[in-house]
């Protein structure tokens, strides 16, 4: 809860903490009702949670990035038809049906947001972090991207064009970060270990 609470005023912190055990009970009751009505199966719910808590996450995206860094033909396919290229590594599906990958270069830096909602490429990055869904990020990064990135620790040079992708439609975006200097000898797995979620959103360098 830390990040949510920190972003809130004291006033509301108090209000929220008081409500926490209440919402656990409410959600449990809701699930029970829907099970009794035959609309959901608790084992399916467990499987869905397990899938997105332990299997689908930014390690998937990192493997895509590492492959693109080491295989020029793959990179070309990824930038041309990201959905198909990502499928080659067996990732895809819900919230990644139409994928677009945008490449960072010395000339262009890309950053992704969804101002209206929280659209995010689940198959490669998993579920979005709280800050990505938060009002500060959604409200500010489209108007003052350089300021927001600087606050987050990434200074984009004046000579680099900044591109903000506000992904409100059915396309989902992943950033292909720049390969770090000094990694020429590394294999794909070692490279994948260097790739961060924030790098694939575009709010950090790798």
């Amino acid at each position: 809860m830390a990040v949510v609470l920190r972003a809130m005023s004291d006033h509301h912190d108090h209000h929220r903490r008081a409500g926490r055990s209440d919402i656990e009970l409410r959600v449990r009751a809701m699930e029970q009702l829907l099970v009794e009505k035959g609309l959901v199966d608790p084992m399916a719910l467990d499987a869905i949670v397990d899938q997105y808590e332990t299997k689908v996450g930014p390690r998937n995206g990192a493997r895509v990035v590492a492959r693109a860094w080491t295989d020029t033909a793959y990179k070309r396919r990824l930038l041309d038809d990201a959905t198909a290229a990502i499928r080659e590594l067996c990732y895809g599906g819900s919230q990644g049906e139409q994928m677009v990958v945008v490449e960072n270069t010395p000339a262009v830096h890309n950053v992704v947001v969804c101002t209206l909602c929280s659209c995010y490429p689940w198959p490669v990055l998993g579920l979005p972090p709280v800050w990505y869904k938060s009002a500060p990020y959604r409200s500010r990064v489209v108007m003052d991207p350089r300021g927001v990135l600087a606050e987050m620790g990434l200074r984009v040079p004046d000579t680099t064009e900044l591109r903000v992708w506000d992904s409100n439609a059915e396309l989902r975006y992943m950033v292909l970060p720049r390969r770090p200097a000094g990694t020429e000898g590394l294999h794909e797995d070692a490279l994948a270990a260097l790739v961060t979620r924030d790098g694939m959103i575009g709010v950090a360098a790798v």
Binding site: V3, R26, L39, P129, P136, R138, M143, A169, D198
Partner: protein
């Protein structure tokens, strides 16, 4: 809908605060809400074109005071109540009544079927639709519309001039589907806007904002 969810370009929300090593869920109820929102649509068909308007119609004060999965819970409850599949009485008492006759529902999805369907996805792509009106390189002006219903054209990008940079092909039109007017499949384009077109001379015109917009969001410039 010009409500608080359409917050691109607002001031006043403070700094972006990241949590180190954040996990996908922060409480068990968040896990269950996520799973319910994912599983229910197999039994009670709805998609994001229904869930998002339900979230957007939460009053601004409550929207801001809610965490993300609280919004999902409220929206999901609203959809189920709206279709007569759940009542406020049942929620209050915890006692389930039989489903009403005449509302089409499907059996609860099984674990394996759910995972297989999620791995396939729920594509908005369609084979055919409205003829395309624009091509890559075209200058377009976004519509100046302020519908009280769901729209994917944010306020900050209305009545602005941009350039088509990519044609994503034909997809269902969320604005129409979200107000119950059917899928109306049509081309979706990536449109690039110079930052100073959106935010005025104080912004850097060399930087760009990209939005994916449907054919119906656009006029020839």
């Amino acid at each position: 809908m010009n409500t608080i969810h359409d917050m691109g370009g607002m001031h006043g929300f403070g700094a972006v605060v990241r949590e180190a090593n954040e996990s996908p869920f922060h409480a068990d109820w968040e896990r269950r809400v996520f799973a319910l929102a994912t599983a229910i649509p197999f039994a009670v068909p709805f998609n994001d074109d229904s869930l998002r308007p339900a979230i957007e119609s939460i009053p601004p004060e409550r929207y801001l005071a809610s965490t993300y999965y609280e919004l999902w819970l409220e929206a999901m409850t609203k959809i189920l109540v709206g279709r007569g599949l759940l009542s406020r009485d049942e929620i209050a008492s915890g006692k389930a009544r039989p489903l009403p006759k005449g509302v089409e529902v499907f059996p609860a999805v099984k674990a394996a079927d759910a995972l297989a369907a999620l791995a396939d996805g729920f594509s908005a792509r369609r084979e055919a639709g409205k003829p395309r009106r624009f091509k890559v390189g075209d200058l377009v002006r976004t519509r100046n519309d302020h519908p009280a219903t769901h729209t994917r054209l944010p306020r900050y990008a209305r009545d602005k001039i941009g350039t088509i940079t990519r044609d994503h092909g034909i997809m269902t039109f969320s604005d129409a589907n979200g107000r119950g007017d059917g899928e109306q499949p049509q081309h979706v384009y990536a449109v690039a806007f110079p930052m100073d077109e959106l935010w005025g001379p104080a912004a850097r015109g060399g930087d760009k904002l990209y939005l994916d917009l449907w054919d119906d969001h656009l006029h020839p410039a």
